[in-house]
Every structure is written in structure tokens, then in C-alpha cells.
């Protein structure tokens, strides 16, 4: 296996980073852009997280404490939008930028200039979105789902800014996805056949196709919203012959694949980390690939399970129930495969593995509540309650976000050339893993007891579990500052990491030095 001589490259001024701010503004380097994405995502995670702290503070006890209901609604809306489009998605794109070229033996991404552009759109998109908080009439207050007519006829003035920022995020995502597909399909080392690709590469390839398929649908939905608001159309206005429920159909046709956009890359990360720390090959590689493909395919066929209470015909409800239940099958296959990978392995529990095990347990729990939500008659009781809030936070926080954190710990020594502090990171892990359950588990009970979501104040019977959830939330929020500290500390120094950071790791990324050379593979390596 060949690695490239680093010194030779650095003699050429074109092949090293320009100094200062220009390095970041003008960069076309996949690692620099990956770093930008990851920092941006961490910033958004902390911002969206502080909004969550505000929400939990308001819900600490019954009565209105800190915020007016109008501002509370803005907080829940912005929290959702920032976490989804600002924290989770850019983090995955950042990981893709850093790791895909290295994992497939490429020198860089296929479309480096577009790569720069797709990142630098994001700060503008989010400045626009966040600026709505300071506008007259306030920020969007209709939830991240932006159901019409609350967002059209009744939306605040700032809604148009929200629409434009969604357009920008969509453009950024689509360009990122095109780049990822082009890179994976064209720049693989010749000996890396599709069925030899690491699963993380596979899951990102599929995610990128999902992105290209559904981001334009979201753009279409918000454009129709823009037309209804400003140009007198009535797509979603019943008084003009439109249909408010059509908005939901279009939105969830985007929204359900979006759910998988936020989890498939995490599946890929798990499929890298679990074999490494089990010192054993991934169980059922082909079935992992096929399961991911079928999840992605099915994700287009289940959208209306978010809308059972809108009054669909009974046959429609039965169809969407069956299709939704069907997704549990390939998802189950993935979980069984990971457990089978661990079984009779030689396990050790460094921080990435701890996060991976927590992912396995808690994502499965989120999957179970998802299965319960698929049962239409039961969904009539769960829908739009805290049971749903618990469900999607279980799949998104210990699912997507723990996946990202596991990936950061797993590859941080590769990126920086330093090991992180295993002691501190374990403190971060245990605080997060325990507090997240104190935060989200009681929400199941709240939902079953009848507490609707998106309310700033609640009946007295919900007080106890809300208090517990808030305490868990504050601990979880504070623990993330440890994460930030660990990252900064690791970048600045620490025990030197060799090329093979983890004893049991396999893959091309471990053949490059830590940190890797500025251009990853200038000659294609040989894949065993």
C-alpha cells in the first residue's frame, strides 16, 4: 500500500494552504472545508442547544416564567431549524468532506470550487435565519414544519426571510450532494470496487441521492408558500380553492427522506467504529448495503404517517401503516448485524465505542417508539404529543448526534495528530448518556398522559416529569461544554497519534499519517 511523500508536495506553493483568513475563505481543500463545516455545525449545535435550554427553563414548572408564548413558539421553531439544517446536516457533510477522499483513496473532492461555495453559503443562510429573531413581529413561530395556513396567511413578516434561507440551505445541500456523488463514483482508487467501499462511503452515497431527490421538493414547498404570501396564489388557501393539507403532503415527501438523511451517515459511522473496537469484521457487509438501499427507497413511500390525524381515507391510512412498519425490517437487520459484529469479538471501550454502544441502545429505543407510532389507531393518541417529541429526540440526539460525536472522537486523532484525553472524554460520555435519558425518557410518559407538544405552559399533572426532563436537559447542555473543551485541547496538543490510531482499525484512512498530508492520495493506493 502506498502513501505519499508529504515533503515533496509542500515544496509546491500551489499545494499548500495560503496563510491567514484567505486559507479559509478561498480554500478548495477537502480537509479545510471539512473543518469549516464541522466548526460551523458545532457553533450551531451550541446555539440551537442554548435555545433548548431556554425551552426547558420555561417548562421547568407550570405557569409562564421567562418567555411570552409568542417568543416560546419562535424558540421551538428556531431550535428545530438550527439543529436540523445547521447542526446535524453540516456535521455529516463535514465528516464526508474530511473522510470520503481519504477512505476511497482520492486526492481531494471531485468538485473543489463548488465545495467551497456550498460551505460559504451556509453562514449567510443562517445569518439571514437568525436575524429574523430581531425583526419586528419576531422570527418564524409556526414550528420547523411550517404548516400552512399558519405560515402563509398568519405567518409573521420574517417568514419570507425564512423561505429565502431555506432556499440557500437547499442549494448548499444539493451542491454538497452532487460533489459527494461525483467524488465517490469517479475518484475511487481503481482497485476499490463498489462492494469494497467502507460502509460510511456507502451510506453517504445513498444519503447524497436522497438529498438531491428531496431538497428541491422542500424548495418547491416554500416557494409555493412565498407565492401564497406575496403573489396572491392560493396553493394552500382553502378560500381560494387550495388545500392546506397539500402543504403537509409536499413537506413530508421531503421530510421523511430527510429523517433518513440525518441518520444514514450515522449508520455508516457505526459500521466503521463497531468493527474497529470489536477487532472483528463487520457482520453481513452486503446485507448492510442492501438494507441501507431499501431504507432509502422505502423512505419515499411513507410520508403520510406524519399526517394520520388529517383525515385520510381508511385505505390510505392502512397503506401508510404497513409501509412504515416495513421500514422496521431493514432497520432491524442493521441493528442485528452490529450486535453480531460485537458478538465473539475482542471488545474494548474507548470513547468512540462507548458512544456507539449508547447509539445502538438508544437508537433502538427510538426505533421502538417509531414502530408504536406506525400503529394508526395508537398514533391518534400519540400524535403531536410529547411521545413524538421523545421519539424523534431519541433517534436524533443519541442517534444522529451521538453518531457525530462518536465520529469526532474516532477521527480526531487522525485529523489533529493528537490523541484526545480519554479520561475527560469518558466524563463527557457518561454525563451525556445519563442526562440524555433523564431529559428525554420522561417525555414518553408526558405524551402518554396527554401533554401536547409545542406548548409554553401545561396542566399540573405534567409538572413532575417536566421538572425532571428540564434538570436532565441542563446537565446535558452543560456537558457539551466539556466536548468543546476536549476538541480545542486536542487541536492544541496531546499525545502524538501514529498513522494507525486504533489497533483494530481497517481502511485507507489509517495508512496516511496523522494528521494526513494536505493533499490526501496523489497516487491511487491499492485496496486489499
Amino acid at each position: 500500500m502506498s502513501t505519499i511523500p508529504i515533503e515533496v508536495q509542500d515544496h509546491n506553493p500551489h499545494h499548500s494552504a495560503p496563510p491567514g483568513i484567505k486559507r479559509w475563505l478561498l480554500t478548495t481543500n477537502h480537509k479545510d472545508i471539512g473543518t469549516l463545516y464541522l466548526w460551523f455545525s458545532l457553533l450551531m449545535f451550541l446555539l440551537g442547544g442554548s435555545m433548548a435550554m431556554g425551552i426547558r427553563a420555561e417548562l421547568f414548572k407550570p405557569g409562564l416564567q421567562f418567555f411570552e408564548p409568542h417568543f416560546f413558539n419562535q424558540l421551538t421553531t428556531m431550535h428545530g431549524l438550527i439543529m436540523i439544517f445547521g447542526a446535524v446536516m453540516p456535521a455529516f457533510v463535514g465528516l464526508a468532506n474530511w473522510m470520503l477522499p481519504i477512505m476511497i483513496g482520492a486526492p481531494d473532492m471531485a468538485l473543489p470550487r463548488m465545495n467551497n461555495w456550498s460551505f460559504w453559503i451556509l453562514p449567510f443562510a443562517f445569518t439571514l435565519l437568525i436575524s429574523t429573531l430581531f425583526m419586528k413581529g419576531g422570527a418564524p413561530d409556526f414550528g420547523w414544519t411550517a404548516y400552512a395556513p399558519l405560515s402563509t396567511t398568519y405567518g409573521p413578516k420574517s417568514t419570507d426571510f425564512f423561505i429565502f434561507s431555506i432556499h440557500l440551505m437547499g442549494i448548499s445541500s444539493i451542491m454538497g450532494a452532487i460533489n459527494i456523488i461525483a467524488t465517490i463514483l469517479n475518484l475511487r482508487a481503481p482497485s476499490m470496487t463498489l462492494m469494497k467501499m467502507p460502509i460510511f462511503v456507502w451510506t453517504w452515497l445513498i444519503t447524497a441521492f436522497l438529498l438531491i431527490a428531496v431538497m428541491p421538493i422542500l424548495a418547491g414547498a416554500v416557494t409555493m408558500m412565498l407565492m401564497d404570501r406575496n403573489f396572491g396564489t392560493s396553493f394552500f388557501n382553502a378560500a381560494g380553492g387550495g388545500d392546506p393539507v397539500m402543504y403537509q403532503h409536499i413537506f413530508w415527501f421531503f421530510g421523511h427522506p430527510e429523517v433518513y438523511i440525518m441518520i444514514l451517515p450515522s449508520f455508516g459511522i457505526m459500521s466503521e467504529i463497531i468493527p474497529t473496537f470489536s477487532r472483528k469484521r463487520l457482520f453481513g457487509y452486503p446485507s448492510m448495503v442492501y438494507a441501507t438501499c431499501s431504507i432509502a427507497f422505502l423512505s419515499f413511500l411513507v410520508w403520510a404517517h406524519h399526517m394520520f390525524t388529517t383525515g385520510m381515507p381508511v385505505i390510505g391510512e392502512i397503506y401508510f401503516m404497513l409501509a412504515t412498519m416495513l421500514i422496521a425490517v431493514p432497520t432491524g437487520v442493521k441493528i442485528f448485524n452490529w450486535v453480531a459484529t460485537m458478538f465473539r469479538g475482542s471488545l474494548s471501550f474507548e470513547t468512540p465505542m462507548l458512544f456507539a454502544v449508547a447509539f445502538l441502545i438508544m437508537f433502538t429505543m427510538g426505533g421502538f417508539s417509531g414502530l408504536m407510532l406506525a400503529i394508526v389507531p395508537a398514533d391518534f393518541q400519540y400524535h403531536d404529543t410529547y411521545f413524538v417529541v421523545a421519539h424523534f429526540h431519541y433517534v436524533l440526539v443519541p442517534g444522529a448526534i451521538f453518531g457525530i460525536m462518536a465520529a469526532v472522537y474516532y477521527w480526531l486523532p487522525k485529523w489533529t495528530g493528537h490523541y484526545y484525553s480519554e479520561h475527560l472524554s469518558k466524563v463527557h460520555f457518561w454525563l451525556s448518556a445519563i442526562s440524555i435519558n433523564v431529559l428525554f425518557f420522561p417525555m414518553h410518559f408526558l405524551g402518554l398522559a396527554g401533554m401536547p407538544r409545542r406548548i409554553p405552559d401545561y396542566a399540573l399533572e405534567f409538572a413532575d416529569f417536566n421538572r425532571i426532563a428540564s434538570i436532565g436537559g441542563f446537565v446535558f447542555g452543560a456537558s457539551q461544554l466539556i466536548f468543546l473543551y476536549i476538541i480545542i485541547k486536542t487541536i492544541r496538543g496531546g499525545e502524538k497519534a501514529p498513522a494507525l490510531v486504533w489497533e483494530g482499525a481497517n481502511g485507507l484512512e489509517w495508512t496516511l499519517s496523522s494528521p494526513p498530508p494536505y493533499h490526501s492520495f496523489s497516487t491511487p493506493p491499492l485496496v486489499p
Partner: protein
């Protein structure tokens, strides 16, 4: 001289902090409710819950077995297997068949829930407004406007909260016991969702469209719910209180209401 509002607020919040009775008991699970349908839902909920628990126990026991016994620190050596077609087919088919079995009773109950067309005894049109509910007894000429009755003082923490804080209204929706009631939901402005857990009914109220649901309530009593779809600023403040009376009591109430409507035709109209 009366004490200043600040002083009163202080006293009340101290009282609130000391008085544990304002905090209700912990509720962990869905309640079975008071209709055949809501009990059916509760059954389905419990069945799927225990199925999840069972699958979870199996998966997590295997996992924890590996976590405990197959540790490197215990000297475990990694095995070499990484494929087994038979096992993979089995663990695809088992969840598939469990789910199919689950789908059948769910679909049956669903079909029953959709039966709004046959023998209903009365129909009530429910209109969601920002932010209150309006009930119209179709064919009776009776209309009820139902608004939150919790005083602002309690919401702003200046007063001790009622036991039914935020789940109390000025005018209840009154219905007879053991009659099939058809609910027709719609809305005047944005989408709302009419939800009473004890009835097993949650139906979106959508402007320009009419949705149907039904309930046959066995037990007289008062049941509470609230709007479930984000509908703007006061979404959290539009509760539903439904009062179930015996047939005779209901007829009396209806007559009184009709008389009142005839004498004061403006009552019940949107102010």
C-alpha cells in the same frame, strides 16, 4: 390598605413551593379511556409495547452478553465469522411476521374508527378558532362557545393554580351518555386538532374541510383534552372539556339551552 402585588406574588410563590398538593401523581401510561374505541387503542398500545420490550430484551441481552464476556481485557480473542445467510434470512422474516400479525388488529380497529356513516344519534360540528372552540349541535340550533377559564393571575404565577389549571373552560361541551356522537371538525383560521384522550379521538380541524370522528361514551363524567396542533400564540391555551350526562339530563340541558338561544339570539355568536 391592601398588600402590594409584589408582596402578594411573593407570598403565593412561597405557598406554591411549600404546598405539594398542587403537584399531581406521576402518570406513566396511556389511560384506557371511556369508549370501546379508546380501550381498543389502549390494548393495541400495550401489545405493541410488550412486543418492543420482548425484542429489546433479546437484542440487548445478546449485546450485553458480548459486552461483558467478549472483552479484550478478559482475554477474549475475536472470532472470524462475518456472514451467515440463514441467520440473516431468519432475522428478516421474524420481525416481518410479527409486524404482519400486529397490522391485522390495528387495521380492524381503524376500520371501526372510520365508521362515521352508520346510525349516529347526534352530530356536533366542532369549529377551531384562534383560540377557542365552537360547538354547534346540528339540527338543534344550539351553539356553544368554549374558552379557557383559567385566570391570567394563575398563568402569570401571581395566584395559586386551580387543580384543573389550563384544562378548564367557561362552557362545557355537553353530550349524552351511550349515544353515538358524530363529530365534524373544521376550523375558521388555521389548522387545529381536537383531542380528548379519554375518547380516543384526535382529529385535525382544517379550514375549508370537514373531518369526521365518532364516540360512544359509556360513563357520565367530565373529560378533558386540548388542542393538539400548533395553531399560533395561544395554542397551549385552548382546552376542551366534555361533560357526559345521562340522556334525561342531557335533554333538560338542551331544552334550557334552546330557550336561552331563542330569548338571546346573540348568545353563542362570536363576539
Amino acid at each position: 390598605m391592601s398588600p402590594s402585588p409584589q408582596f402578594r406574588a411573593l407570598v403565593f410563590s412561597l405557598l406554591l413551593a411549600m404546598n405539594p398538593s398542587v403537584q399531581a401523581d406521576y402518570i406513566f401510561n396511556m389511560t384506557p379511556g371511556v369508549t370501546e374505541i379508546s380501550r381498543g387503542i389502549h390494548n393495541l398500545h400495550m401489545v405493541i409495547f410488550w412486543i418492543c420490550v420482548a425484542i429489546g430484551l433479546v437484542v440487548f441481552s445478546v449485546m450485553f452478553y458480548a459486552i461483558i464476556w467478549h472483552r479484550k481485557s478478559r482475554g477474549a480473542k475475536a472470532a472470524n465469522f462475518h456472514e451467515n445467510t440463514l441467520v440473516e434470512i431468519i432475522w428478516t422474516l421474524i420481525p416481518f411476521s410479527i409486524l404482519t400479525m400486529m397490522a391485522i388488529p390495528a387495521a380492524q380497529l381503524l376500520i371501526k374508527m372510520h365508521d362515521t356513516k352508520t346510525d349516529s344519534d347526534l352530530s356536533i360540528k366542532i369549529v377551531g378558532h384562534q383560540w377557542y372552540w365552537e360547538y354547534e349541535y346540528l339540527g338543534e340550533g344550539v351553539r356553544v362557545i368554549s374558552r379557557l377559564s383559567t385566570p391570567q393571575e394563575q398563568i402569570q404565577n401571581r395566584d395559586i393554580k386551580n387543580p384543573h389549571y389550563l384544562r378548564e373552560v367557561d362552557n362545557h361541551l355537553v353530550v349524552p351518555q351511550k349515544k353515538k356522537i358524530r363529530f365534524l371538525t373544521t376550523a375558521n383560521d388555521v389548522i387545529h386538532s381536537w383531542w380528548v384522550p379519554a375518547l380516543g379521538v384526535k382529529k385535525d380541524a382544517i379550514p375549508g374541510f370537514i373531518n369526521e370522528a365518532w364516540a360512544k361514551i359509556e360513563e357520565p363524567g367530565i373529560y378533558r383534552g386540548q388542542c393538539a396542533e400548533l395553531c399560533g400564540v395561544l395554542h397551549g391555551f385552548m382546552p376542551i372539556v366534555i361533560e357526559v350526562k345521562t340522556e334525561a339530563e342531557y335533554q333538560t340541558w338542551l331544552l334550557e339551552k334552546k330557550a336561552l338561544m331563542n330569548n338571546h339570539p346573540t348568545i353563542g355568536h362570536t363576539p
